[in-house]
Symmetry: C2
Subunit: 451 residues, 2 copies
């Protein structure tokens, strides 16, 4: 007997309808925000992913050498492919480029709750616009997507942070250049790591200042308003005798924060957002505002995450292009929706089930099935000729709304019986009018005929 | 610079919208016929595909050993995964099982026109019903799908054939058991192969009768009506002194043909169908009626193909379950639709573009953007603050239907200007009514206000 590979899923109709529900609302939200859909191959040159993320990435990739001797990999994320698509046509694309995709990603990882080896991601990105208006539009789109699933600001929170402020904090400690990425990565992991371990790692970069630095990052991570952020950063400037331009840069950045928050407020996003510098985002390529969406109480894995990444396109070998984007995964989202009981019944049911007895009736009824299906009505009937009782049982089990009934006698009189299964009301109509009658019945129900 | 791997595609928004159009109509057609959607992993155990198709299949697979030492392969087709899904839950699934899927398949093949290494397939299958009513429902569904793309019976033809009739033909020549599959495979290839080569291969199984047999298969392949088929097969029975039960079996099978054609006629499918024994279908597992859809003049590769495969589920190790199904590929279909100019303009355009001047106006207008998007309207605006002229140019280029305009002066009077870009008519409305006014304008256009 065969089974799914570990971390891969099959989708029986029930599960598939749930997956498609998520896809449908993702797509709908992106389209309303005037994003255009794209897609890229699930299999790409291994080099593409190494170029973006370094050699280590191969450890978590499904990669192999194909029959043509090419090193290829199943994509672990969308961004490298996206960057190459945008980079290759940058000159002809109208800016800002607002794009989204819905696609499966593959990572050879240790599985845990909410983490599989194959999962779907909704990727939403804006290219070509450096201003924080793009960040605001992106975050608002993320929030409206969650709202589309009937989630509220009581259910989830957008933790909004800023790599630039963190860079300025590091500059107070004269951490610049090559030291920045490893130190940010240590800060990113602090939430989940033993403090002694973090301090040990910081010592490499900060010597005996490591313990003090650690305490201050802890303080930074808890800040949730701009005034406190200003106060803490200016104190750092003073204590560490930072240059004046650091102080100026902090003030300037806080002005951008004010503009971003105002724009988000205009877009109706404020109740969903929490300033939270505890979010750093592990990936090296983020450059500005970053955010992660979590269940409000903080439990579980992130539902979505993203931010600004202004230099990735040029890193991939194309012309420089500002960018911001986020990804939302289907697995954590589905877990949350299940927990909140926000998944509606989704399986398609027949609008009409046709109950047929006799050859003449069968001939007419199959024609009716075709006619109804052509006007968009979902029709089922018993493929095999079985008794009336069995057919009615099928009709009921299928949860059809309307049953159309015909015997050979009905066929010779050219009439059809139409029954509303919810009320039990049944009427007889001329077969010639049956499509229109069934359309009416589906729209308005069947009313008891006057006697 | 990075490119797609050979035979793989990226989908820029234009191409993606075309792909999604095909997906949408596939899904819509299947749902109307009361089929349920399923999906299976793109990566499966290599053994699954070997079990179905034999060791040779590995030659055209993307397969490799994963980090856990498992031999795995990208699926080359849906049927093995489908058989395992249905087989595993056979006891609890309500029959007939009517299922469809839309998914990508991967084959390491030599590329040609209409054949890539990654392509999408629409798979439609019925399990649990041995009678020809299922074949009819399946073929009708295929035809209605094509009709959904505005193709007509003048554009395409369903070539309907029958492996059972071919088996009876072989029985006339006492070809049974192990000889059947290779001989059918030779017949399948005749359309595209040098006759001398075919005869040489037949000699292995038929000795000096090979040349005569070849001539007769050629005759069979050209038959297009039941009377001729009966005549030719009965002549074969006589000439080859076949047993009486062969003759009876032929007569019985022709009765099933009559029933199938009658059912297809009731379903409105007749104009699309041509009896054509030239179709044999290469795959060993087909057992009954088989069909392929071609462009009417016969050029190009098959657009769809399928048939009955009653023993595959048991071959995969599960309980026996009758089945029939077909697959339609996106590549050949798209080529045909392009040629017939049947692809409508598909990119989503904004319903409304908001033109904004000033901070106060911006605050109100971003709120309006959110309100409109929440009621399902596609809204775009300039993320960056730019001049009025530039914003109108953007609005026009985006092909928006309606433009909403506000300056700070409008904001202080709480009014919005609404302009229909197709007529140039512009009206001023209270900002408080703007959502309703824009909904009306999108539904009915804007009429010139009375002066």
């Amino acid at each position: 007997m065969f089974e799914n590979l570990p971390g891969f899923r099959s989708f029986y109709p029930e599960e598939c309808s749930q997956r498609n529900y998520i896809f449908r609302l993702w797509r709908q939200s992106a389209i309303r925000f005037a994003f255009q859909e794209y897609d890229a191959p699930v299999l790409e040159a291994l080099e593409l992913f190494k170029e973006k993320s370094g050699e280590e990435i191969t450890e978590q990739l499904f990669w192999f050498t194909d029959k043509g001797g090419r090193e290829v990999a199943l994509r672990p994320e969308m961004t490298p492919s996206l960057a190459r698509l945008v980079g290759a046509k940058a000159a002809s694309l109208k800016r800002p480029v607002k794009w989204f995709s819905i696609g499966e990603q593959y990572r050879y990882e240790r599985m845990q709750k909410g983490r599989l080896r194959a999962f779907y991601q909704f990727n939403v990105d804006i290219f070509g616009e450096p201003g924080c208006g793009a960040d605001a539009e992106l975050i608002a789109q993320c929030i409206e997507t969650l709202r589309g699933f009937s989630l509220t600001a009581n259910d989830v929170v957008v933790r909004l942070s800023d790599r630039e402020l963190w860079l300025l904090f590091l500059r107070c400690y004269a951490l610049e250049g090559d030291a920045v990425t490893p130190v940010l990565s240590i800060i990113d992991k602090m939430e989940r790591e033993d403090p002694a371990k973090s301090i040990e790692k910081l010592t490499v970069h900060l010597g005996e200042r490591a313990e003090h630095f650690f305490a201050r990052t802890q303080e930074m991570s808890k800040l949730q308003d701009l005034d406190s952020i200003r106060r803490v950063l200016f104190r750092e400037c003073e204590e560490q005798s930072a240059a004046d331009d650091v102080r100026n840069a902090i003030e300037e950045r806080l002005q951008t924060w004010i503009l971003l928050l105002k724009t988000l407020d205009s877009l109706g996003a404020s109740p969903w957002i929490r300033i939270d510098l505890g979010v750093v985002r592990g990936l090296a390529y983020y450059t500005g505002f970053v955010f992660e969406v979590f269940e409000r109480t903080g439990k579980g894995r992130a539902i979505a995450g993203g931010g600004r990444y202004d230099h990735l396109v040029s890193k991939m070998g194309y012309n420089d292009m500002p960018a911001c984007g986020y990804a939302m995964g289907d697995v954590t989202l589905a877990l949350l929706l299940e927990e909140k009981k926000l998944i509606p019944p989704l399986l398609h049911k027949p609008d009409v089930y046709l109950v047929i007895s006799g050859d003449k009736a069968r001939n007419l009824m199959l024609g009716l099935a075709s006619a109804l299906r052509r006007v968009g009505i979902i029709v089922d009937y018993a493929i095999k000729e079985v008794g009336f009782g069995k057919q009615f049982k099928n009709a009921t089990q299928s949860n059809a709304r309307i049953v159309g009934i015909m015997t050979d006698e009905g066929a010779s009189h050219k009439v059809l019986n139409v029954k509303d299964l919810s009320t039990g009301i049944e009427i007889t109509v001329p077969f010639a009018d049956s499509v229109a009658c069934i359309q009416d019945a589906l729209r308005e129900g069947i009313t008891q005929p006057e006697l």
